[in-house]
Symmetry: C2
Subunit: 229 residues, 2 copies
Amino acid sequence: MATEQYKKEDHLLLAVDCIIFGFDGNRIKALLVKRNLEPGLGKWSLMGGFVKKTESVKDAATRVLNLLTGLTDVYMEELGSFGEVNRDPGGRVVSIAWYALIKINDYSEALMKEHQSKWFELDHLPVLLFDHGEMILQAKERLREKVSAHPAGFTLLPSKFTLQQLQGLYEAIYEKKMDKRNFTRRVLELGLLKKLEEKEKGTSRKGAYLYVFDKNKYDKLSKKGFRII
Amino acid sequence: MATEQYKKEDHLLLAVDCIIFGFDGNRIKALLVKRNLEPGLGKWSLMGGFVKKTESVKDAATRVLNLLTGLTDVYMEELGSFGEVNRDPGGRVVSIAWYALIKINDYSEALMKEHQSKWFELDHLPVLLFDHGEMILQAKERLREKVSAHPAGFTLLPSKFTLQQLQGLYEAIYEKKMDKRNFTRRVLELGLLKKLEEKEKGTSRKGAYLYVFDKNKYDKLSKKGFRII
DNA sequence: ATTAATAAGTGTAAAAAATACATTTATTAA
DNA sequence: TTAATAAATGTATTTTTTACACTTATTAAT
């Protein structure tokens, strides 16, 4: 099947690793699993897997994410390759890291038991397998860049959310407090949100209006580019 | 050598492809070569090669770039992976694309003859091998994002350059005319440039002062981040 | 020596965007 | 009816960005 000239070239293992981010209303968290094979059996690690010959790299990442979370249609982007020769003591494995943004409640307690997985705050990460710590650091940085100009962050929130939840998310990602009036004005002026009649009554007597993200308006806006933060 | 569990996994070919950008004083160009193996023998393509077991992915990209240009210490960054199953009819090859920024005069006529290579303007690209056209498009977009906040673009210019050459570079990357006064003010206010006594006399009787990029000042600035354009 | 030609170099006013900041409002539990 | 609590809202100030045109230095031609 392969061209003659290709046969003499080195073949190696290609893996994907998924940095899965969630938002608990207060902090950004990453979902980690206890590794179930050697080397590094039992260590906390990112969810990963090998790319098969019959699937694209993206499909492999999607498959690995689905295997852990059961989720499909998840926001996911490539972070980049990690290709040091000795990064994996088990063999020559190049890994392509992907980051995914999921709604934290979509990942149930049951799944956490089943996979020996756990959400960790980004500044309380355990010792991690191989170069997975570096992957998470880079993904965190990439997430910041991403949400500054793209509405990716919305996928970390429930589909209906209050303005204060949205602000809380940006504050968590940028690790700094923002001014409520300025934030509200800016985000509403973008015209990406649709205000609902409905109110969220969990956190106050008055209740805060719920909003949804309006993908239509985003698609129009995104052509000429814009800045969220 | 490899762990037992890894052995049953699919092994595949991993390649690197280099998008090499240059600036001729007027337009951004990409350096392409005539492919010297099947499949696609004789087609215009990016310079590429397979990642060996004994080298990191980054080292492979560096090696491939050096093989074509003879250059070392070149500004190079990973663009991302291209991993569709059938992207290369010769076999299952995942490619990691890198973009490099070089001074166009560092690449001699002699090398162009030797490698059957040629500089192409980005809007006059020939038909390209596999997904290399898409790689170049993505790299062009990435270059824009990059130079808006990082001084990477300077590596496309000679080490001494005039303000109008620098402006010309940004105009080429963004494909739009900019105001000379505003551009000059902004770029000088950043404090990244050192003005020399020397003048460039090629393009005017008066002559334009030459500047050099001051890496020291950049390193200080880069911690808190800044915006060039 | 004077003039003509050419690109280099420079400043200011207006508009837009970002920031700093505090009070009123709606609701419910006591 | 009152107290408590978070939600909602506007304005003045500062900073940044944009728009815009004339003077200067130099040399080649006369």
